[in-house]
C-alpha cells in the first residue's frame, strides 16, 4: 500500500518535472532566428576610444537550396555590417539593433584585425574572444596590412561564394602547399605567446587586391563583379600585443623552417653553370629545430634543418646520369636558399626586436637559472643573439624524366 503510494507520488513528481522542463528549452534558438557570423573584424572606430566591430554574416537563403539553384542567385550570400562600442562585447550587442537575426559565433573562423588597431595593441580587444563560450579558440588571427579589417571583410573570392570559406581555403592551401602561412596563428596559440616568457606572437598577414573595374569575369557565379580580393602575403610580427612589423613570404617560410612547420613549397635555385636559368625544387618534407646556448655570457642559437626535395622544374638541360655532380651542386644551392630564408627571418625579427621564435622560452626550458638572470634584459639581448644555421638538403627524385629533353639547336 505504502509502496503504491510512493510510486504514485514519485510518478507525479516526475511528470510535473518533465512537463515543465522537457517541453522546451529556456534559451532555445531556432536556426532561422540565428545569424551565423563567419568572420569578425576589429578596428579602431572614428570616435576616439571606441572599437568598431565588423562582422560577416552568412545569408543562408542566398546560398541556394537545390542543386540547380546553387550559385545561380544574383545575391551575395553574405552580409557585412559594422557597429561600434567601448568594448568588443558592447559592439557585438549593438549589432543586434541592425541585425534581424541574433549573431551566433561558433562558426566564425577568423578574427581580423586592422593595421591601425594592431599597431596600437590588441591586448584590450582579445579578451572577449576567449571569454565568450561561443567563440572557438581555433579561430585564425589575421592582420590586414595597410587596411582596415572592415575593408578586408568586403573581399570576395571567385571560387567560393562565401568569403570566409574562400579565406579558409587559401589559408589551408598556403599552409600546406606553400608553407608561407604560419601554421599556428590561432587565437589559442596567440594567447599562449602573449603570456609565455621569452616569446612573442605572430599572426597571418593579408592584403587586399583591388580588381580594375573593366576586368569582367564571367564565372559560374553570376554575382556582381568581384571588386576586391585578398591574398595571404606572410606574417604579422607582434611585440607583446603590438604589431611592430611584417614578414614577407620568404621570411615567413624562414620562420617556418626554424619552427619545423614547413610542409611543402617550391625552392627556386639558379641552374648550376647557367646562372640566368632556374630550377624549381619541390619540398617533400622537412624537420627543423633550434638549440639556444650560453657561450661566455652571450646567447647563441644553433638551428638545424633537414629538408628533402624533388626536382620539379628545370629550365635548360640537365643530365644527372652522365653528369652526377649537378645533383650535389643542386643540393648545395638548395641548402643555401634555405639558409638565406632562415637568416632573413632572423634578421627581420632581430631588427624588429621581437622574439617570435621563442628563443627565450627555449632557453628557459633548458636552463631556467641562467634564464632568470637574463630575462629582464632579454629585449636588449635578443637582437644580438648569434644564429648558426646547419642545413642538410637532400634531393630525392626527379619526376617522370631524369634527363631533360635535349632541344636541338
Amino acid at each position: 500500500m505504502s509502496v503504491d503510494r510512493a510510486l504514485i507520488i514519485s510518478a507525479l513528481v516526475i511528470f510535473v518535472m518533465m512537463a515543465t522542463t522537457i517541453t522546451g528549452c529556456w534559451s532555445r534558438r531556432e536556426i532561422d532566428t540565428i545569424g551565423f557570423l563567419m568572420a569578425i573584424g576589429v578596428d579602431e572606430a572614428q570616435e576616439k576610444g571606441k572599437i568598431q566591430l565588423t562582422v560577416h554574416v552568412a545569408k543562408p537563403f542566398a546560398i541556394g537550396g537545390g542543386a540547380e539553384a546553387k550559385g545561380t542567385t544574383e545575391e551575395k550570400p553574405f552580409w557585412v555590417v559594422s557597429s561600434t562600442g567601448h568594448t568588443v562585447f558592447e559592439a557585438m550587442r549593438n549589432l543586434v539593433s541592425q541585425s534581424p537575426r541574433r549573431p551566433f559565433l561558433a562558426h566564425s573562423r577568423f578574427i581580423l584585425i586592422g593595421e591601425e588597431l594592431a599597431r596600437r595593441g590588441i591586448g584590450d580587444v582579445i579578451d572577449w574572444f576567449q571569454r565568450d563560450g561561443e567563440m572557438r579558440r581555433r579561430a585564425w588571427i589575421v592582420v590586414a596590412k595597410g587596411a582596415k579589417a572592415s575593408d578586408l571583410l568586403q573581399v570576395e573570392f571567385e571560387l567560393e561564394p562565401m568569403p570566409s570559406e574562400g579565406g579558409m581555403g587559401i589559408v589551408m592551401a598556403t599552409r600546406t602547399e606553400l608553407s608561407t602561412t604560419i601554421t599556428d596563428c590561432t587565437l589559442h596559440c596567440f594567447l599562449q605567446q602573449l603570456e609565455g616568457e621569452g616569446a612573442d606572437p605572430v599572426a597571418t598577414r593579408a592584403e587586399i587586391i583591388l580588381r580594375p573595374q573593366e576586368f569582367d569575369i564571367r564565372g559560374e557565379l553570376r554575382r556582381e563583379k568581384v571588386g576586391a580580393s585578398a591574398r595571404i602575403t606572410g606574417a604579422a610580427v607582434f611585440k607583446d600585443d603590438k604589431l611592430v612589423g611584417w614578414l614577407n613570404k620568404p621570411e615567413t617560410r624562414g620562420f617556418n623552417w626554424i619552427m619545423g612547420q614547413v610542409r611543402s613549397g617550391i625552392i627556386v635555385i639558379k641552374k648550376p653553370g647557367e646562372e640566368d636559368r632556374f630550377i624549381g625544387l619541390e619540398i617533400l618534407r622537412a624537420r627543423g629545430r633550434f638549440r639556444p646556448e650560453f657561450k661566455d655570457g652571450r646567447v647563441s642559437v644553433t638551428v638545424g634543418i633537414e629538408a628533402e626535395a624533388n626536382v620539379g622544374d628545370v629550365q635548360g638541360f640537365i643530365d644527372p646520369l652522365r653528369f652526377p655532380e649537378i645533383w650535389d651542386s643542386m643540393e648545395r644551392r638548395m641548402a643555401t636558399v634555405i639558409k638565406n630564408e632562415v637568416m632573413a627571418a632572423v634578421a627581420k625579427a632581430q631588427e624588429l626586436g621581437s622574439d617570435i621564435f621563442g628563443f627565450g622560452a627555449e632557453l628557459n626550458r633548458r636552463d631556467p637559472e641562467k634564464w632568470a638572470e637574463i630575462k629582464d634584459r632579454w629585449d636588449d639581448e635578443f637582437p644580438r643573439v648569434g644564429v648558426h644555421v646547419e642545413v642538410k638538403a637532400k634531393l630525392r627524385r626527379s619526376g617522370l624524366v631524369i634527363r631533360s629533353t635535349r632541344i636541338k639547336r
Binding site: M17, R137, G196, E369, A372
Partner: protein, 369 residues
C-alpha cells in the same frame, strides 16, 4: 546498536564511489590548476598530493577496523564520550553537508556558464538535488551499484578528453621542471590533498562493506586511479594551454572544446559535461546519504530515509547561500581557505579519534569493543 542502514556494498563499489567523488573537482573546475603560479609543475603537485592522501586514507581505515560495524559517528561517541563525541560527529556531518552543497552549486554553475546561461541556476541544482536524494534514499547499496556502473562511462569519457586534443599538445610546455623550486608547488599540492580528505566519508561507508578488510585495498585503488587521472589531465591541460592554463574557469571543459579531429569530431565538451554530471550525481548522493545516516545516528532517529528530501533542500539552499558567485567559489577552494578548512576538520577529527583510541587501548587493554 542503532542500525539505521542495512545495505551491503562490495569493495569495488566503494572504490567506484570514491573515484567519482574525487573526479568531481577535476572534470569541470580544477582548483589545483586554477591560479597556479608555475603551471608546468602542476603535475608534480598532483602526484605528491595523491601520495600524501594515502596515509590519511589508511588512518581512516585503521580507525574503522578497530570498531567493526560502527560508523565514525558511533565510535567517536564511544571514544570521546557522549558530549564531545556528538560534537565531533556534528562537525563531520556539517562538513559533508557543506561538501554536498558545494558540489550542487558547482554543478549549477557549470551548467549556467557553459551550456544554458539563461536558465536559473536553481533549476539544475533542484533537479540534481532531487535525483541524488532519491538515490540516497534507497540506501547505500543503490548508490554503490549506480556508482559501479557509472564509473566506467566516466573514466572512458575522461580518457577521451585528455587523449583527443593530441594535435594541439606541446609537451615542451612542461619544461622547465621545478624551475622555481618546491615552494610554488606546495599550495597546489595541498589543494590536491584537501579534496582527498573528503574520503573521510569512508568512516561512514566502511561498516557496510561486505568484507571490511577490503577497505584499505580498495580505497587506495581509488586514490591511485583518481590521482593518476588527475595527473594525466594536468599534463594534458598544460601541454595544450601552456601558461594560459591557470586563467581558465573550467579547464577540462575548455580542453574538450579544443578537440578537432579531421574537421569532423569537434568540440566534445558535451562529453565532458556528461562525465561531470554523472560523477556529481554519485558524489552528491554519497554525501547526502552520509549526512542523513550521520544525523540519524547522532539524534537517535531510527530511519534516515525521511531526512533525505529535507537534507536535499537544505543542501541546495546552502549551496546558493554559501557562495555569492562562481569566482567566490573558486577563491574559497584555494589552499589558504578550503585546504586549511579541510585539513582541520578531516585530519583533525580523525587524528584526535585515532590518538584517543591508541591511548585507551594502552590504558585498558581489555576493553575492545
Amino acid at each position: 546498536m542503532n542500525k539505521v542502514e542495512g545495505g551491503r556494498i562490495s569493495g569495488r563499489q566503494l572504490a567506484a564511489m570514491l573515484i567519482l567523488s574525487r573526479i568531481v573537482p577535476i572534470t569541470i573546475a580544477f582548483p589545483l590548476i586554477t591560479g597556479i603560479e608555475v603551471p608546468q609543475d602542476a603535475w608534480i603537485a598532483s602526484l605528491l598530493g595523491m601520495l600524501l592522501a594515502i596515509p590519511f586514507v589508511l588512518l581512516v581505515v585503521r580507525l574503522g577496523l578497530r570498531f567493526p560495524h560502527k560508523t565514525i559517528i558511533e565510535y567517536s561517541e564511544i571514544l570521546l564520550g557522549k558530549c564531545l563525541g556528538k560534537l565531533v560527529g556534528l562537525v563531520l556531518v556539517l562538513y559533508w553537508i557543506h561538501t554536498a552543497a558545494t558540489v550542487a552549486r558547482a554543478l549549477g554553475e557549470a551548467y549556467t556558464i557553459a551550456i544554458m546561461p539563461e536558465t536559473p541556476i536553481l533549476v539544475f541544482m533542484i533537479i540534481m538535488g532531487f535525483l541524488a536524494a532519491n538515490a540516497a534514499r534507497n540506501g547505500l547499496e543503490v548508490v554503490g551499484r549506480a556508482g559501479e556502473s557509472v564509473v566506467w562511462i566516466v573514466l572512458f569519457f575522461l580518457v577521451l578528453m585528455f587523449v583527443l586534443p593530441f594535435d594541439v599538445m606541446h609537451f615542451r610546455n612542461l619544461a622547465p621542471v621545478l624551475s622555481r623550486g618546491f615552494r610554488p608547488v606546495a599550495a597546489p599540492m595541498g589543494t590536491a590533498t584537501s579534496f582527498f580528505l573528503q574520503f573521510i566519508v569512508l568512516g561512514m561507508v566502511m561498516p557496510y562493506l561486505n568484507r571490511p578488510e577490503d577497505a584499505a585495498r580498495f580505497s587506495i585503488y581509488a586514490v591511485l586511479v583518481s590521482g593518476l587521472l588527475m595527473t594525466s589531465l594536468t599534463v594534458a591541460l598544460v601541454a595544450v594551454f601552456g601558461p594560459t592554463v591557470s586563467g581558465l574557469t573550467m579547464p577540462a571543459f575548455s580542453l574538450g572544446r579544443m578537440v578537432s579531429i579531421a574537421q569532423f569530431l569537434e568540440r566534445i565538451e558535451a562529453v565532458t559535461m556528461g562525465a561531470w554530471t554523472l560523477s556529481v550525481w554519485i558524489k552528491l548522493a554519497l554525501f547526502l546519504w552520509a549526512s542523513a545516516v550521520g544525523l540519524a545516528q547522532l539524534f537517535g532517529v531510527s530511519r534516515f530515509q525521511p531526512l533525505l528530501y529535507p537534507l536535499g533542500a537544505i543542501v541546495v539552499a546552502f549551496g546558493i547561500l554559501s557562495y555569492e558567485s562562481y569566482t567566490h567559489l573558486q577563491i574559497f577552494h584555494e589552499f589558504r581557505h578550503f585546504g586549511i578548512f579541510s585539513f582541520i576538520v578531516a585530519l583533525g577529527t580523525t587524528g584526535i579519534l585515532y590518538l584517543v583510541a591508541l591511548m585507551r587501548r594502552s590504558l585498558s587493554p581489555g576493553v575492545r569493543r
